[in-house]
């Protein structure tokens, strides 16, 4: 259970600053990080994802997610980056987060945006996906992403210990909030997102973060993330079909792959010689996720993905002609 953020809360007047959060969320961690660095007292409220509070739902009706910062009678604030900037503007003299030069500031924002739109979704998906292939792809993506981050660190830090200087700032918080997850992946999946060979400066930065007086008490430990991960795995157990095929010995990771193999086998038994089959990543034919559905002897492609990438290699159209023309007629 999460302990109260401010030890003196019972002595002071009712807290003007309230934070709605979930233990283990890197976005919530970011806000707490800033509040602590700037010595802002606040009251923390732990939300239950499956049973969101009235306060959360009314404060953030658009997204219904944490973090939400409530400050006195001001409009509730949502989204970690705007909240961080708000706190920085509220108390600019105490531990300023962003550099003063507009050009440096803008590069911080660009990197934070890139990190949030690329690396963070990959980090999240890596935890949630059961598909072995996808996990491997995500590893590659994360490695590339963090190599890029290493380059950015070298450029921005100019030799200093943190992203923009001698002490923790905006980017250290944005990226650092994910360090618990990164540590977890190293322990549980034997996958090191940050590795000394590939990311020497980031590896050193990681150590500095974990030993920083404020950071080490704010960044959730990997044990907390492990609890969260176990909870998710309990909520969504793996499908019973992830077993080996009794005859071929092939291991299936999802029902879709089973279906595809059944279809292929049936067609080949029916006499179709050398069909050109290809499954892109974990989808049928195209960029998105799709299923094939046999419907009265015809094949239909459903869902997202229209075979664009396949069409570029002249495979998509061939497949469509072969298997859709019965319906077209």
């Amino acid at each position: 259970m999460y302990k109260s953020s401010s030890p003196s809360i019972s002595m002071t007047k009712k807290c003007e600053m309230k934070l709605l959060g979930i233990t283990g969320s890197p976005f919530v961690t970011r806000v707490e990080f800033v509040l602590k660095l700037k010595s802002i007292e606040y009251e923390y409220f732990e939300e239950d994802l499956l049973n969101k509070s009235e306060l959360l739902v009314t404060s953030n009706p658009v997204f219904r997610r944490v973090p939400v910062l409530l400050h006195a009678n001001k409009q509730p604030m949502a989204e970690s980056l705007p909240i961080m900037e708000y706190l920085d503007e509220l108390k600019p003299d105490v531990h300023p987060l962003l550099p003063s030069d507009p050009s440096d500031r803008v590069q911080c924002r660009v990197l934070a945006y890139t990190f949030d739109t690329l690396c963070v979704p990959w980090i999240k998906e890596f935890m949630l996906t059961r598909e072995k292939e996808r996990k491997e792809e995500l590893k590659t993506l994360l490695i590339e992403g963090f190599v890029m981050l290493e380059e950015a660190f070298v450029k921005l830090s100019k030799g200093k210990a943190f992203f923009c200087g001698d002490d923790i700032g905006y980017l250290d918080i944005v990226v650092g909030s994910c360090l618990g997850w990164i540590k977890l992946y190293g322990i549980v999946f034997d996958f090191n997102v940050i590795e000394e060979d590939r990311n020497p400066r980031l590896a050193e930065w990681g150590k500095n973060m974990w030993s920083h007086e404020v950071a080490k008490n704010v960044i959730p430990s990997h044990e907390i993330h492990m609890k969260f991960l176990n909870m998710l795995l309990d909520m969504f157990p793996p499908l019973p079909v992830s077993t080996n095929d009794a005859i071929t010995g092939v291991m299936y990771w999802n029902l879709f792959d089973v279906m595809v193999d059944v279809v292929i086998a049936s067609l080949m038994i029916s006499g179709l010689s050398s069909p050109i089959w290809r499954v892109q990543l974990s989808s049928w034919m195209g960029e998105g996720w799709s299923t094939l559905k046999m419907n009265q002897g015809q094949f239909q492609a459903r869902g997202s993905g229209g075979g664009e990438s396949m069409k570029n290699e002249d495979v998509g159209p061939i497949m469509y002609l072969m298997y859709c023309d019965r319906k077209v007629r």
Partner: protein
Amino acid sequence: MAKNSEIKLIGTAASPFVNRVQFVLHLKSIEYEFIDENLASKSELLLKSNPVYKKVPVLIHANKPPIPESLIIIEYLDEIYPDIHPILPSDPSVRADNRFWANFIDTKFFPLFEELRRTPEKEGKEAIKKQLIEGSKLLEEAFVKFSNGKDYFGGDDVGYLDIVLGCFLGWTKFVEKHNEFKIIDEVRTPKLLEWTKRIWSHEALMDAIPRNETLMDFYMMLQINRPPRKATSS
């Protein structure tokens, strides 16, 4: 008059994100060079300036590192020219609220336009139209809150959200006409409708938003390069 021929903007006229930056440059009377980009065949300069996303707009200011992402560019311009037509409000909590709604518009509202174009079936399209209408109702509420009885999101004059949302109006009208429905109308979103008429005739916006033919050309380009998904049965 802020003269600065050191500012270059890589973009394409049909992109509302690029229009936003043009709007701000105009409001702040900043001179700049516009580098027209063909999105179907991206230039070396664009790929070098925005290697991660390869998208427009990208702002290049003198010999500083290039800046992508329209919202980030707007904040940068506001910081380097704070005295000429400030874009973001001064109150920190209102600024946070502005940034929140800009994020909503960019991540939840506008992507629906593209989703609508790419969805082939009528059912799917109807579902997205519904979402767009729901979104517009939220924006109506936001407008009432921010404008507080005045003409714009920014109050008496054009501000951040007027720019962020206003630049989508060309596409909004296009999509409404093309799909025969109204996203913004006098029954569900009366205040927003009044606002659209007001901002549509604002001098700086008229300068930034392209005419219908440009949008049509761009739309056709998208239809070819990123066609709608295949329909399911009948």
